[in-house]
Symmetry: C2
Subunit: 411 residues, 2 copies
């Protein structure tokens, strides 16, 4: 594999034109879109329009005239098209942690006689933290079985299991779970499944209704390029909507919020998964990113993602094998999301050295270097350049200095 | 009182210069800042900076380099200066409804042997709705006593009361509660108080620590001019922070979120009131509005607010008495927030006619016309003009047509 080969791939890339929809600094190779997606060029003008015209000029009238009330539903319906959901099954609101609280609470109520929840040890921590919060406030005891060995997850789901809460793409390794097999197993024993799509929505095709999924949440600011801290989305299958009740029963989840009655009546549809007033600027900004993913489509995005991560691993093998790295992501792309991670005892300093040279990935304690591949705005040449930069850092030992070894970043 | 008198007041107004900090349409008199505050001119440029430079160029590095992680605390500390709180007692995060859920849950846990909560019937509905959600998910029964007569609130607080949840300025009438007396009564019987400051923060001086307040929430998008759906704030008195635990235990409320441990450990300080990742654009925008209130100060804001609402009521008496309106706000400014409301059987159509002429207030079912007075950007001449426009509508009966009578707005 040569640099010239890689350039050929970029020339032939059907997604080559998508990069133009994003603004990226010239001196950066951005392999951290799995943590914060890049900025769509249209985001700046859209946000400006919302602030200056819709808020500044139209003021309170915008709730109706500029359809602010519809935003959570309109964007939700668009995201539905990326994750295999139907219109009316997805709403964009609040953050992932809070939406997990809503869904776990609602799902547990749908399985009142059961006391067990199955999840994965080492799942993204907020998923586990939220379960502690639910345990602390719940009337009945809840046994959380956080399975350490992924291969044991299916057998851990049994007739006492009320709910299964899993992330389909592991946030550190990119390892995929078999969503269909797990969902089927859960349903076979009468349990419900909540899928955390934070590392898959916008990165690979997810087909929630094809696998009969019950509930899901996902992140707006990673592969959906919604902006820093963009609101999250919630999916609830239509068959559950009449009976799914979540406890954060704020006025935006009411069937008729502007009747101002003292009694709560949950909205008929997916609106019942909302709670309070949503940030309009953040919502409007998030929509721009979602629109780009829709325009290019998940099939093309996944095809390029697989090719990029395969290339990264191939170049890793060719150029970095001798420096003490261990690949922790699956070699088989069928089992891999849109990210590649490897470990190194000096991972923190190495990542700092890499970032100082403009190649931005991230470090996850204790020793993981993590690289995300966002097919909409990355070039194959970026993959080549990233590996070559890392190889140069390792060859010269330039990471081995105080500047890079002192832990000063919170991310 | 003549128009010339009113112009004199504007000339002599110490807050006259504050209006320049806001952008308002020329053809509008905006008396709905108690629902959505106006746009600070600096908001547009600040938001543009966050989107284009901090997100677009600096990307993931902004969490540290542009202090995104600090925003909820930094803005919280600024709001603390408006509500009589100390540094480290306020954080800006999520929406009011969700923060109410956190605080009520935390406060109930601090009073484990008690089963009663006192609130007000006709409180802003989301406060009551959230209590239903808490009742539905809680191990112990919770008796909610929603007192119908405001004068009976203090006597309803007894030794069985765990928590009192009240809004200091009634959202419809603007009627003030006696925060000090209620807080003292609650503490005398061992109860805790949560104050909902949605209609007071930024409108009148609140001195939480002077009255020994326990907890509070408030709204960012009304008198604080934070933008549509701006995040809410949470106050917890320092003495409660070590023991106050809220169940939405997401990773942003963790003492060390980037250790990525599987076990939740709440942050030492006010950070434990956070849950998940916050919308950065909305936060940055909200800070601009808070800065303006700080610059001019709550004393000057309250002085002008009282004078404006007094003037509005005086002109109401002089020009509108004959048209069947009933004033439902207190005549005595000591008992009144920064809003004035009156009822009329044809209130909806009258408000639509008023809005069509550029005077924007709002209607609250079944019959309330509500007007908010934001001293930072309103002129006394606006008050005059609003009354004269309404008098003209009543005199000509121009509200009495299909265009205005058909209920087509959700707000």
């Amino acid at each position: 594999m040569t640099e010239a080969d890689v350039f050929e791939w970029d020339v032939a890339d059907p997604l080559a034109g998508a990069r133009e929809s994003f603004s990226l600094p010239d001196d950066v190779i951005y392999l951290d879109g799995n943590s914060l997606g890049a900025m769509p060029r249209a985001a700046a003008s859209r946000v400006q329009e919302v602030v200056e015209r819709e808020w500044g000029h139209d003021l309170i009238r915008s709730w109706n005239d500029n359809h602010w009330f519809e935003l959570p539903y309109r964007i939700g319906d668009k995201i539905a098209g990326l994750i295999g959901a139907d219109t009316g099954e997805v709403v964009v609101t609040d953050c992932v942690s809070i939406n997990l609280y809503k869904l776990v609470s609602a799902a547990l109520k749908l399985r009142p006689g059961r006391s067990k929840l199955v999840t994965e040890a080492g799942n993204f921590p907020t998923d586990l933290y939220i379960l502690e919060g639910i345990q602390s406030s719940r009337a009945q005891p809840l046994e959380v079985n956080a399975v350490a060995d992924r291969d044991q997850i299916i057998s851990a789901i049994d007739e006492q299991t009320a709910v299964v809460l899993l992330t389909d793409v592991h946030y550190k390794t990119g390892h995929l779970l078999d969503m269909a097999a797990i969902t089927t197993r859960a349903h076979d024993v009468g349990a419900l499944v909540i899928w955390d799509l934070c590392h898959s929505a916008g990165a690979l095709p997810v087909d929630l209704n094809a696998i009969g999924a019950d509930f899901a949440v996902g992140c707006g600011y990673k592969y959906l390029n919604g902006g820093p801290g963009a609101p999250s989305f919630v999916f609830a299958a239509k068959r559950h909507l009449p009976d799914a009740r979540q406890p954060l029963s704020g006025w935006w989840g009411h069937q008729s919020p502007f009747v101002f009655s003292d009694e709560f009546e949950p909205a008929d549809g997916i609106g019942r998964m909302m709670s309070g007033t949503q940030g309009v600027i953040g919502l409007a900004c998030a929509e721009v990113g979602v629109d780009i993913s829709l325009r290019f489509g998940m099939t093309a995005i996944r095809d390029k993602s697989v090719r990029m991560t395969d290339l990264f691993i191939q170049l890793f093998d060719e150029h970095l094998a001798e420096y003490g790295f261990q690949l922790v992501s699956p070699r088989d792309s069928q089992h891999r999301g849109s990210q590649v991670a490897f470990t190194h005892a000096e991972g923190y300093a190495i990542m700092q050295a890499l970032i100082a040279r403009g190649v931005i990935g991230d470090f996850r304690a204790p020793d993981i270097l993590r690289f995300g591949f966002a097919p909409l705005y990355l070039r194959y040449a970026d993959v080549w350049q990233a590996i070559m930069t890392l190889a140069e850092i390792m060859k010269t030992g330039s990471w081995d200095c105080d500047e890079f070894k002192v832990v000063n970043a919170v991310t």
